[in-house]
Subunit: 665 residues, 2 copies
């Protein structure tokens, strides 16, 4: 293999569709495509953003490197006068977790969402110019999922018109906030509001944490970094921090007062702004997470797909080339459903963006009717897509055999940096149970004539769905969108109904709920999978230009749905939605679909339009020139600086010479 040659050219020539048009479908619009394309090249071509050195830096060097990149990125953003969207893209293509993520992604939105007009006017300009840097300090050493159980207190002192922020116990130490450990000057700190001995629950407070002069923590404040996390570079570029308060005073007007206020007299009052507004922010944050899932997943799939076409193993006849491992049906059965999932999550994310806009408009018009459903649905999709993506990245790594275990494959770091998405912004199991609660509520309200809306609308057809039996007779029947959709609706509906029936056997509903948690979580998964399948199908009902593009998406949609059906066959069979014969027809159809994807596989991952810089993987190189580059890269390891390694003389030599007895070890 030589440099400058496209070793995957033959694979690319096999594509049966217009890749450039698919790039636009993937990006969401031509404008989005051009934006991403431009900014990703900008980052990739700037040596200041190189990241291949990240792996061998120690914690301090790594962190310093984050600070440099963040400052440099900000410099470029201002120099180039990038708008908000462009700046966001640039930060994401820099591809290194940094305190700025929390500043822009959590601190600013918290003030926007929960601050009064006045508070916004005071704090946002400072934040926008990065004259202050903020973090989001909610989680404590002892309290994560249970936000209502936080222990930090904010006690109103009417004498001075201040709140006293305090950490009464060790477990009340703030723990995890990104950017807090070493950088943030301010934080939105969540604490129990105490007035006159009465507890008014958890609220957000803007607290200055460090001096703007010497960057030391302010009096009464203890801050540190919580230490190393999973992986090599990965999230260790981030200063997740700990924080303790010893009776720290802040002015009353630093409580975020959009929804509730504390008056000068110490009265706790609710504004007419509804509490539900807060849900709007959660919908927004989680919608971003779903779209990030499709990005992380597609990166992993791109690497594994390209390498599977480069890698050859077995099957050589008369000394000819061996078989490309992508041609093995096991490799296809493991890989192609992940490729399909990447597209599926992409469209689910796109739809969630619409949902967020819809919810926001309704909120402004005081229409809260869709909010519970929207909230449950984003919670569920966050859980579903992040769990699937984390598992998929690791599967992609395994699909690359031994070489996937090298950092130069990019996959270990992608995994390590991605997995916390299963935990932050709501532990995925806890979220599924929220979805399940919503489903049970929806069912219980059916009797009272309340019509289920949005993604739960199918529950309105329970009578029909509980009667349903699939009428699939031959494998191709499984290609019909309605056939698939109905099977997924019936399965989800029946699993929820079964839970509801079992719940009704308990005298105490909450006890019943606790007893049946595991079943409820499974019903929630079925519901969420239905959403993704249905949004993929809806996408296909839109106008999709470009030669062969729609056909490819149809194949991927079928693969997504049928591979799920195969994986959860037990659900479909035990609820009687399909029979065993129909299940095996689905597998048969799936095999055929894999063979249809095969010639298009490389082009389908090219459509993600990732630069080699962003992919950060030798196995996933665009040109497929894997082996020479792996070899080249190996020599860069610090261990190869010297022929005889440090420590050999002291430790190994004496062993070989049988002189250990006298050695000082």
């Amino acid at each position: 293999m030589e440099d400058g040659v496209d070793h995957l050219a033959f694979e690319r020539s096999k594509a049966q569709f217009d890749v450039d048009e698919m790039k636009i479908v993937w990006a969401g619009s031509r404008q989005e495509f051009e934006l991403s394309d431009r900014i990703s090249r900008l980052v990739a071509s700037d040596p200041a953003f190189r990241k291949d050195d990240r792996i061998t830096l120690d914690r301090k060097e790594l962190f310093k490197n984050t600070l440099r990149k963040a400052a440099y990125a900000w410099k470029r953003i201002t120099e180039l006068r990038l708008n908000e969207q462009e700046a966001y893209k640039l930060r994401s293509f820099v591809d290194q977790p940094a305190f700025t993520d929390l500043h822009w992604g959590m601190f600013v939105p918290a003030i926007q969402g929960q601050g009064t007009e006045e508070q916004q006017q005071k704090w946002l300009p400072l934040a926008y110019k990065m004259q202050i840097i903020g973090c989001y300090a909610q989680t404590e050493l002892g309290h994560g999922s249970n936000v209502q159980g936080l222990e930090t207190t904010a006690t109103f002192d009417p004498k001075t018109d201040e709140f006293i922020i305090h950490s009464p116990t060790l477990t009340s130490s703030k723990w995890w906030p990104g950017g807090l450990g070493k950088i943030s000057t301010h934080g939105v700190v969540y604490a129990r509001l105490i007035i006159d001995g009465q507890d008014h629950g958890v609220h957000g407070f803007i607290v200055q944490l460090r001096s703007l002069d010497d960057h030391y923590p302010l009096p009464g404040i203890t801050i540190g970094d919580i230490g190393m996390k999973f992986g090599n570079g990965a999230y260790n570029t981030m200063d997740n921090g700990l924080l303790r308060f010893d009776h720290v005073r802040i002015p009353r007007n630093q409580m975020l007062m959009r929804v509730s206020q504390v008056t000068r007299e110490g009265k706790f009052v609710h504004s007419d702004v509804p509490r539900q507004l807060v849900y709007g922010t959660m919908v927004n944050v989680r919608q971003k997470i779903v779209s990030d899932a499709s990005v992380a997943l597609s990166r992993a799939v791109c690497i594994a797909t390209r390498y599977s076409a480069v890698r050859r193993q077995f099957g050589s006849h008369n000394g000819g080339l061996e078989t490309q491992v992508i041609d093995y049906k096991t490799q296809q059965a493991r890989l192609f459903p992940l490729l399909a999932s990447a597209y599926a999550f992409r469209f689910a994310g796109e739809w969630l963006k619409w949902l967020y806009r819809d919810v926001t408009e309704r909120l402004q018009a005081n229409d809260f009717s869709t909010l519970p459903e929207a909230h449950a649905c984003t919670a569920g999709l966050k859980s579903l897509t992040t769990t699937a993506t984390a598992d998929a990245i690791e599967e992609c790594r395994k699909l690359c055999g031994g070489h996937g275990y090298l950092c130069s494959s990019g996959l270990p770091e992608l995994f390590a940096v991605y997995v916390p998405a299963c935990t932050y912004e709501g532990d995925n199991t806890v979220l599924l149970l929220q979805v399940a609660r919503h489903l049970m509520k929806t069912i219980s309200q059916l009797g009272s004539g309340r019509k289920p809306v949005g993604t739960t609308a199918y529950m309105g057809r329970l009578d029909q769905l509980t009667q349903y039996h699939s009428d699939v007779k031959k494998a191709e029947d499984w290609l019909k969108p309605n056939v698939v959709l109905e099977a997924f609706e019936a399965r989800a509906a029946r699993m929820s109904v079964a839970c509801a029936q079992n719940l009704s056997k308990f005298a105490n509903p909450e006890e019943g709920f606790q007893e049946l948690l595991a079943d409820l979580a499974e019903a929630a998964v079925a519901h969420c999978q239905l959403i993704v399948v249905s949004k993929f199908i809806e996408k296909l009902q839109q106008d999709i230009p470009g030669k062969g593009v729609r056909q490819q998406l149809e194949v991927l949609c079928s693969i997504y749905a049928l591979s799920l059906l195969h994986k959860h066959l037990g659900d479909f069979l035990s609820t009687g939605c399909i029979n065993p014969k129909q299940g095996s027809l689905a597998s048969e159809q799936l095999r055929y679909l894999y063979s249809q994807v095969r010639p298009n596989a490389i082009a389908l991952v090219d459509a993600f339009n990732y630069t080699d810089h962003y992919l950060g993987s030798i196995l996933g190189r665009y040109d497929g020139n894997v082996y020479p580059k792996l070899y080249e890269e190996a020599w860069k390891d610090p261990l190869n600086d010297s022929v005889v390694p440090d420590g050999f003389k002291e430790y190994v030599q004496p062993m070989l010479k049988q002189q250990l007895r006298n050695a000082r070890l």
Copy 2:
């Protein structure tokens, strides 16, 4: 929480069985228990073996640290005159991958297994005293799974009575061998034997790689480290290496000649030692891998179980304590099957040890009849247990919420260091397909009256198993070992039979096999799960002393089997082995079994008898004193050395002061 207090004492007091007796069951025998107990304490109490500093060392420091520990371990082993078994234990409790693993685990066994008497007499004494250090150099940059496709050549030169070892292409570079990169003086190198232009396939050769004087690679030899791997410390303590030969000459008698020889005249001859002997070695290596799987899995489960009892979240009434997360049924449904799997794999490993002894004895008596079955069975169990263990470690990490993502939880490193077990010693998918081939062969030979042996014996009852319908009527019926066993046998048999029937539809059997790979792999999984279930059941038929011990194991055995049944419900239903009602009775029984494990959970993980040193996890501490120790540990991170981090002045200060324009970044 305070030091010196056992915060899990109450949990321990709830145990309904004799933990000390369970420790002996887990260890395999009292003698094994005492050995492990003694050696693990020896390692834990010696500060030279501390490992909590590992996370923040850079590659060179980390590697030097490996060399020191390996030398120190060897010093202690000789000083204390430890026998082979003790030395092995000591190395494993040191818990840091090192070149010595390959020396003892692959290099020495290769010579023992493939070397002639003469070769053994020459090389083994040197290796036993570590006067030479060896590696196992098989894999190449371009060839892993397909060993027969290796490209390195060993060409016989009759003039000088030597072999010329050569790397003809870049892809023929040896790549991955542990210990090779920086340390090994010798290697067993696999290469194609070429005599007089004729290719006699792949054989092993003992090749000296480095000078015993100055440790430099010998002339014609290029060696390097292949670079960083997954995780932080993890496998980066190991010098996996690359190796190229430029016409390197070795004496003829350094080809491992137990099975085939090259004579002085250049004649290639087979000895009367059967080729199958090599399989014996593979059975042995893979049996160790299965037993290591139970160790890795049990470590993760121990951490997640203890922390789940410490961690409280939600459910506080009137400001009282919150609910221990181990009491949530979702937590139980995720965790307890993993606990059961740890025990299941333990007993499977124990049985494989017996199988290896049995095979060895038979081989010595020239009985090869059980070898194919034993080989398939160890391949399958290697694949099954390592895949399950890798997934389970990550699940345990997620079960710990955010704190599981900290290195101080021990779980990230445990995962990163464990996962390659899914790839080395046979890629798990490739191994499953070997099992499938064996199953298809077994079925095809049934007609000719060949009686299936060992773990495939149930195939002899195909008539009965294809008629089978479970007669479970109530949930408790699922507690009967025979009921479970038959369901697993029927499912496995029918999946294999279905594959065989589909295969028979193809004119070209190999084409059919390739087309049906994915189904075949699933049939192989079903077969392997049956083996583990049946070995667990067999274990329970032995005499098991100790109050309540057998009862606990019965519960775990049922959980192992029924949770698999639940997970693979589609298999059981689609093959008609059970009906939906019976499937839901199994789930019901499972819920009940979880509640039976709950009070015993902590004691069941105590029975693994791991020291805090070996666990290496703050979340998994024996005393449950999690929060103060997490807090303490955080401060040790290098980032906490200074209040204001390195880089702040250069990069962040100018940002805050709006002076970036002039900054040099």
